[in-house]
C-alpha cells in the first residue's frame, strides 16, 4: 500500500490522537483524584457550553442565521440575574463581606434565573424581528448586524456594570461541595449545571423528535419554502425558535455567572466556544452540540493542566489545543461530526 501525500496529514492526526489518549491514560494512572478533578472540570464546562451552543445551533439549523450576538446574550443574561439578585434580594451580597452576613434564599436564586432567561428570550426575539427578519437569506448582512449588536451590548454592559468581575450567589441552603471518600467536588457544578444540561438535552430532544412543533422545525430545516407552501407560517416558527435559542443563551449565562463569574470578555469567549462546539458537532445538530461541547470542554481542561513534558511547560499554549481539535475534526468530517449539507 502506498501512502498518498494527501493521506499524510490525516495519518499524522490519527497518530496525534493516539498519543493524546496514551498520554491521558498515563496521567490517569499517576494521580487518580487530580485526573478525576480535571475530567469533571472539563465535563461540567462542557455542560455549560452545551446549554449555550444548543440555542446557537437551533437558530442556525432552522434559519441559517449565524447569531454572532449569542455570546452577548449569554453575558447580558448573567448581568440581569446578578442585578436582579442584588436589588431584589439584597441580603448584603457585597463582595467585601464575603459571606459574613450574606444569605441567599432559593427564591433569591430561582427568580433571577427565570427572569433573566425570559428577558433574554425577548431581547433575542427583538433582534430577530427588528433587525434580521427583513434580511432573510442574506448571510453576510445578518452576520454583520449581529456582530454590531454584540459590540453595542458589550460596551453598554461595561458602561453600566464596569469592569469588575461579579458572581451570582447560589442559594445558601445548597451545599458548597459534595464529598465522595477522599474526593471533594463543587455541588453547583456537578449537580446543578450538569443536571441542567441533561434536562435541556432531554427536553430539546423530546421537543424536536416527538412534538408537532418539533416536526415543523425539522421539516423547516429540510425544506423551508416547501413547508411554507404546505400552509405553515414559517415566520412564526422562526420567531419561536429564536426566542427559545436566545433563552438558552440567557439561561446558560445565569448558570455560568454562578458557576464561574460575570465579567467583560466572557461574551466573546462564549461566542467562540459556541462556534467551536457547532463546527465540531455539525451546524444545526443537537447530538452534535452535545458531543462537540464534551470534546471542547475536555480538551480545554486537559490542555490547561497536562501540557507538562519534563521541564518544558507548554500549558500557556494550551489554548491552541482547541483549534487543533477543530482542525482534526474538519480534516475527517468537513461538515462536523453530525453535519449534513445544507
Amino acid at each position: 500500500m502506498t501512502l498518498g501525500i494527501r493521506q499524510l496529514p490525516r495519518t499524522a492526526l490519527i497518530a496525534l490522537g493516539l498519543l493524546v489518549v496514551v498520554w491521558l491514560a498515563i496521567k490517569a494512572s499517576q494521580g487518580g483524584n487530580t485526573f478525576l478533578q480535571v475530567t469533571l472540570n472539563g465535563t461540567t464546562d462542557a455542560a455549560l457550553y452545551f446549554i449555550v451552543a444548543a440555542g446557537f445551533t437551533l437558530i442556525f439549523g432552522l434559519m441559517r442565521v449565524v447569531n454572532m450576538a449569542h455570546g452577548s446574550l449569554y453575558l447580558f443574561g448573567g448581568y440581569i440575574a446578578y442585578v436582579a439578585q442584588t436589588h431584589w434580594y439584597a441580603g448584603g451580597t457585597s463582595q467585601f463581606q464575603l459571606g459574613a452576613t450574606s444569605s441567599t434564599s432559593i427564591w433569591g436564586f430561582l427568580v433571577p434565573l427565570v427572569f433573566a432567561t425570559l428577558v433574554i428570550g425577548l431581547v433575542g426575539l427583538g433582534i430577530q424581528q427588528l433587525l434580521l427578519r427583513w434580511n432573510q437569506g442574506q448571510d453576510l448582512r445578518q452576520a454583520l448586524i449581529t456582530i454590531a449588536v454584540s459590540v453595542i451590548i458589550a460596551d453598554q454592559l461595561i458602561a453600566h456594570y464596569g469592569g469588575i468581575v461579579e458572581s451570582i450567589q447560589q442559594p445558601t441552603s445548597w451545599p458548597n461541595s459534595i464529598v465522595i471518600g477522599t474526593f471533594r467536588y463543587g455541588f453547583f457544578r456537578l449537580v446543578v449545571v450538569l443536571g441542567a444540561a441533561l434536562a435541556v438535552g432531554v427536553l430539546l430532544y423530546l421537543l424536536i423528535q416527538h412534538t408537532r412543533l418539533g416536526m415543523i422545525i425539522r421539516a423547516g430545516v429540510d425544506d423551508r419554502p416547501m413547508l411554507s407552501a404546505l400552509g405553515v407560517n414559517v415566520q412564526l416558527v422562526f420567531a419561536g425558535a429564536f426566542f427559545l435559542g436566545a433563552m438558552l443563551a440567557g439561561f446558560g449565562g445565569v448558570l455560568g455567572g454562578t458557576m464561574i463569574s460575570v465579567g467583560p470578555g466572557l461574551d466573546s469567549q462564549f461566542l467562540l466556544n459556541s462556534l467551536i462546539v457547532v463546527i465540531i458537532g455539525g451546524m444545526g445538530s443537537l447530538p452534535g452540540a452535545a458531543i462537540g461541547a464534551l470534546l471542547l470542554g475536555l480538551v480545554q481542561s486537559y490542555s490547561a493542566i497536562y501540557l507538562h513534558f519534563g521541564a518544558t511547560d507548554l500549558t500557556p499554549y494550551g489554548v491552541l489545543a482547541q483549534f487543533i481539535l477543530v482542525i482534526a475534526v474538519l480534516a475527517f468530517r468537513p461538515l462536523g461530526l453530525f453535519g449534513r449539507p445544507a
Binding site: 415543523i216 425539522r218 411554507s228 404546505l230 405553515v232
Partner: protein, 241 residues
C-alpha cells in the same frame, strides 16, 4: 356558479435577476383539469412556484384565486386559500417519517375533509410504511406521500408538477387513476407534464409552454393526432399506438 376555486392568471411575468423567465402568461383553470406541457427549461416549474408564492426572483402581473389576489402573498396564506402543490422531485422532508409528514400538515387550513386516515385508505401502501423515513420509500410511494401531504390541506386546486417523472409505467397508470379520481371528486387540477400519455389521460385542455410563453392551446385529440405538433413543441418522437 362556483365554489370560489377559479384560478385566473393574467400577464404573469417572472424574473431571476435580469433573466425574464415567464413572459406574460394568461390562462385560467376552472372545474375541468388543465395541463401545461412543454420541454425542459421552458418555465413550467417557475410558473408553479410563482403561483405558490415560493418563487425566489421577482414576479409581476396578477394571479387571482376565487377572486383573491395571490401575487405577493406569503406561501402559507396561498396554501390556506386552497391551493396545494405537489412539487417536481417530490421534495419530501428527509428527516420526517411518513406518519410525521401527515401529522405536520393535518388540521392546517382547509375544511378538514382530508384526514391522515383517508390518505391511508387512498394509498394503503403508505399505511404499511408509516414508520419509515420518507427517504426509504420507493419513487411511487414518495409520490403518493407528496400527493397525500398536499391533500391534507383539503385544497380546491391541486397543482402537480411532473408527477410521473421517474416512475415505472405501471405506477404511472396507478397515479393517473388517482389524479382522475380526485378530479372527478371536485378537486380542480393543474397538471404540468412532459409525458403526453399522462397529460391527455388527465386533461382535455393542454397549454403548450415555449420559452416562457404560452404558445398555443390544444385539445387532447389535436395533440394526439398531430405528430408534427408533438415534435415541434415537445421535441418527442410521436406517440405510436
Amino acid at each position: 356558479m362556483s365554489d370560489g376555486g377559479l384560478l385566473e392568471v393574467q400577464e404573469l411575468n417572472a424574473y431571476y435577476g435580469p433573466a425574464h423567465v415567464l413572459q406574460g402568461l394568461d390562462f385560467s383553470v376552472d372545474e375541468e383539469p388543465v395541463s401545461i406541457i412543454g420541454r425542459n427549461g421552458m418555465g413550467k416549474t417557475t410558473m408553479c412556484h410563482a403561483i405558490m408564492g415560493i418563487h425566489p426572483g421577482s414576479a409581476t402581473g396578477s394571479i387571482r384565486f376565487g377572486g383573491l389576489e395571490l401575487l405577493g402573498k406569503a406561501p402559507y396564506k396561498i396554501a390556506r386559500a386552497g391551493i396545494a402543490l405537489v412539487p417536481q422531485g417530490r421534495r419530501l422532508f428527509g428527516s420526517l417519517t411518513v406518519r410525521e409528514h401527515l401529522r405536520v400538515i393535518a388540521n392546517r387550513g382547509g375544511n378538514g375533509q382530508w384526514t391522515p386516515e383517508r390518505i391511508y385508505t387512498m394509498f394503503p401502501r403508505l399505511a404499511e410504511r408509516q414508520r419509515n423515513d420518507a427517504t426509504q420509500l420507493s419513487g411511487g410511494e414518495q409520490q403518493m406521500l407528496a400527493i397525500g401531504r398536499a391533500l391534507l390541506l383539503s385544497p380546491k386546486l391541486l397543482i402537480l408538477d411532473e408527477p410521473s417523472e421517474g416512475l415505472a409505467p405501471r405506477i404511472v397508470d396507478e397515479l393517473v387513476g388517482n389524479i382522475r379520481g380526485l378530479a372527478h371528486n371536485g378537486v380542480r387540477v393543474l397538471l404540468v407534464e412532459q409525458n403526453l400519455g399522462v397529460a391527455t389521460a388527465v386533461a382535455e385542455r393542454h397549454l403548450v409552454m415555449v420559452a416562457g410563453r404560452l404558445a398555443t392551446e390544444l385539445t387532447s385529440d389535436q395533440l394526439m393526432s398531430d405528430p408534427e405538433l408533438q415534435r415541434r413543441y415537445l421535441g418527442v418522437e410521436p406517440l405510436s399506438d
